[in-house]
Subunit: 424 residues, 2 copies
């Protein structure tokens, strides 16, 4: 008998008939002899509707009250799901984040989990009950106030509870079949990845693959908890996210490249004419950090000897742009830079693969593919298992398609590489 | 500085603009130098919408999960109200029933309050904050599960918290100006009652006056807590419910009759041909009690000597009728009664007044007024301060109007009786 943690997102519980279907799936897992803990998000558009109500009464609602408001969404979906399961003849108990023992810090709207004490969940499982837990929410250790975990919160709740309960697997249900080598809407021949490492999945998530949030993968990696990303519309195997994807005892070598990710949500700011003195760059990024802005890529040009000045470009979430520009303008006189350039018509294309560590020439192949597609590269950043480039936003599709093809990720060839044992 | 507890019902917080208006009223009370604790119901039709959702997933949802679902309604309204107050520059904190220390038994859907430990509310007040508390909900002492208090639950929450906090007054806001001598929709000349005793108010509530629930008046009476029923649409004084309405130091005597209440929500069941043996009636009412049915009035005919059989009639909430009829049919053979008659076309008209204790002839005047209106009386029941009769449902308005007039309750005359000192 295994302990299975399942997470269903808002689209999986969008209305009563969806909830009933999810209930059947949960009961089937229980009937197969498993203990089952379910983490559920708010129904469909509930969160947006609640945010709209909040806006109607206050342009800038206090974080504590906004969390109190938003957490009612999961309370509705989890109670309905427990009822639907009861209606199928199985006993289910719903628990708020607080009741489930999800203890967080006090940062309303983006709280971090600092402990999980799932005593009530274990008690319910001990009684043969299915436990339904509200995703996205917890209770602050200091103030005992209700908190929310921010983006990717429900996935993180699922992984955190699974880790605390020492579950055998955390199943993340979504509306696609798993993690693909590229977004199938851009590359129709993209292939489902059967197994992927935590490291690669983290790079994929950080580079714009939206199926799993970076934060939940980090959490799973720390506790070595297997994640199974799969469709709530089929019983097909999805993608397993594990520490060692090649440990299945086969002779296959790891593919060089796992996939191509893209992200259109970033913008680029260039600080023009920064005096080339020690500490100027540090002041700029300290200012941005104080404004709680997450910087992604950074490029500093070689200083022009004639002027003693340099340009510094960086990318950041487009939604943080105005905050960043405001913060930078405040220090313009102190730093003495000349001007700020802003560009939100950019996109990031990333190649991810643990295999590139031991395969020289990956970078060259990637750049050549993009160049052959007629796409200009504006910025470059690399890690051990990733290469990212910034291109024009309307050139993202062409770059993704070219890279996907250059590394033989398209379904026809790739099936042979991975399963056919070509020895690559 | 006083401690004021205010309760706003669902229609007072039906949408964003209503919530903003209520927020202004709360802030005005705070600015006048009071500590303020607010109990709030779910917005408008929220509870009905949630019940509808529950019905869609399960015809008979478990009580625990239904409570979990329904309590999300107050969570939404209280958070929005706290935001609206914050937007007016005052600090407000919302608290769930559990956070406010409303401890109940485990009877989901109709939990009884067994303790109130409002430590967090007192802390908020100590910090100069306005406390917003979810009405209608609590947490069970044994299981730590979320419970709801059933009908009149938000009023009861308000009175219970006011008692625990030793508040100076509990203000119940509603959409009418107070308690009237009769329903103004039936008797346009009905008059607002300025002060009424707990006992009379309890009889009014039990007899169908819908403004205050019996349960909350009982609670206030036990703790001798003044209730002020008033309109959320005006600043006029409403009706004070207190232990001794005549203690204001005036020379006025108490009016004989406080008001006329009516109730169309009951039905009548007659058990025909019950063998006139010891214990048969007891068996019938034991059966109904076991089915958790609240009986109101009971009439047993004098036994017909020829047959040795009698008829027993009783009234009960119409919604309990089918349960009662089913339970009675099960014991028909054992009891040996002949048949069951059912009538849901009845109405109850009640005359309430502490003054009738010391004024003979009230009953005669009441019956004469009803007879003169051409209305037939089907059943009668009395208490020290109340007379109730059952009449045909379509004759309720005529009976109420006749009784109201017979006791000079109509506004023109009554103003003289109460304020003019006629010495009656």
């Amino acid at each position: 008998m295994a302990l299975v943690v399942q997470k269903y997102g808002g689209s999986s519980v969008a209305d009563a008939s969806c909830i009933k279907r999810v209930a059947q799936r949960i009961v089937a897992t229980k009937k197969a002899g498993n203990d089952v803990v379910v983490i559920v998000s708010a129904m469909g558009d509930t969160t947006d509707e609640l945010l709209d109500l909040a806006q109607q009464v206050s342009p800038l609602p206090p974080g504590r009250e906004l969390d109190m408001l938003l957490t009612s969404g999961e309370r509705i979906s989890m109670a309905l799901l427990a009822m639907a399961i009861a209606n199928l003849g199985h006993e289910a108990r719903s628990f708020t984040g607080s009741q489930a023992g999800v203890i967080t810090d006090s940062s309303h709207g983006r709280a971090r989990i600092i402990d999980v004490t799932p005593g009530r969940i274990q008690e319910a499982l001990g009684n043969g009950q299915i436990a339904i837990v509200a995703g996205f929410q917890g209770v602050s250790q200091d103030t005992k106030d209700i908190t929310t975990l921010g983006r990717g919160g429900s996935d993180t709740t699922a992984v955190a509870l699974a880790a605390a309960l020492e579950a055998d697997v955390c199943e993340i249900y979504t509306d696609v079949d798993g993690i693909f080598t590229a977004d199938p809407r851009i590359v129709p021949t993209a292939r489902k990845i059967p197994r992927i490492s935590y490291d690669e999945m983290m790079e994929m998530a950080a580079c714009g693959a939206k199926i799993l949030h970076l934060r939940c993968v980090e959490y799973a990696r720390r506790f070595n908890l297997p994640i199974h990303v799969r469709s709530s519309f089929s019983t097909k195997e999805g993608t397993w996210v594990v520490s060692d994807p090649d440990s299945e005892g086969t002779e296959m070598e790891q593919p060089i490249i796992s996939g191509v990710a893209h992200d259109r949500s970033e913008a680029k700011i260039t600080v023009v004419g920064v005096p080339d003195k020690v500490g100027e760059a540090a002041t700029i990024f300290k200012t941005l950090a104080d404004a709680e802005i997450n910087i992604d890529m950074i490029v500093q040009n070689v200083s022009a000897a004639a002027t003693g000045r340099t340009d510094i470009s960086f990318t950041l979430p487009t939604t943080d742009s105005s905050t960043a520009l405001t913060a930078l303008k405040k220090i313009q006189d102190r730093i003495g830079f000349e001007s700020l350039l802003f560009d939100d018509q950019i996109g990031k294309v990333s190649l991810i693969g643990a295999g590139m560590r031991s395969h020289p020439g990956v970078t060259a192949t990637f750049f050549a593919a993009i160049a052959n597609a007629g796409v200009n590269i504006e910025m470059i950043s690399t890690s051990e298992i990733r290469i990212s480039v910034i291109v024009g936003q309307d050139e993202v599709d062409a770059a993704v398609t070219a890279a996907h093809h250059a590394f033989n990720l398209d379904a026809d060839q790739v099936e042979a590489v991975v399963y056919g044992g070509t020895g690559r």
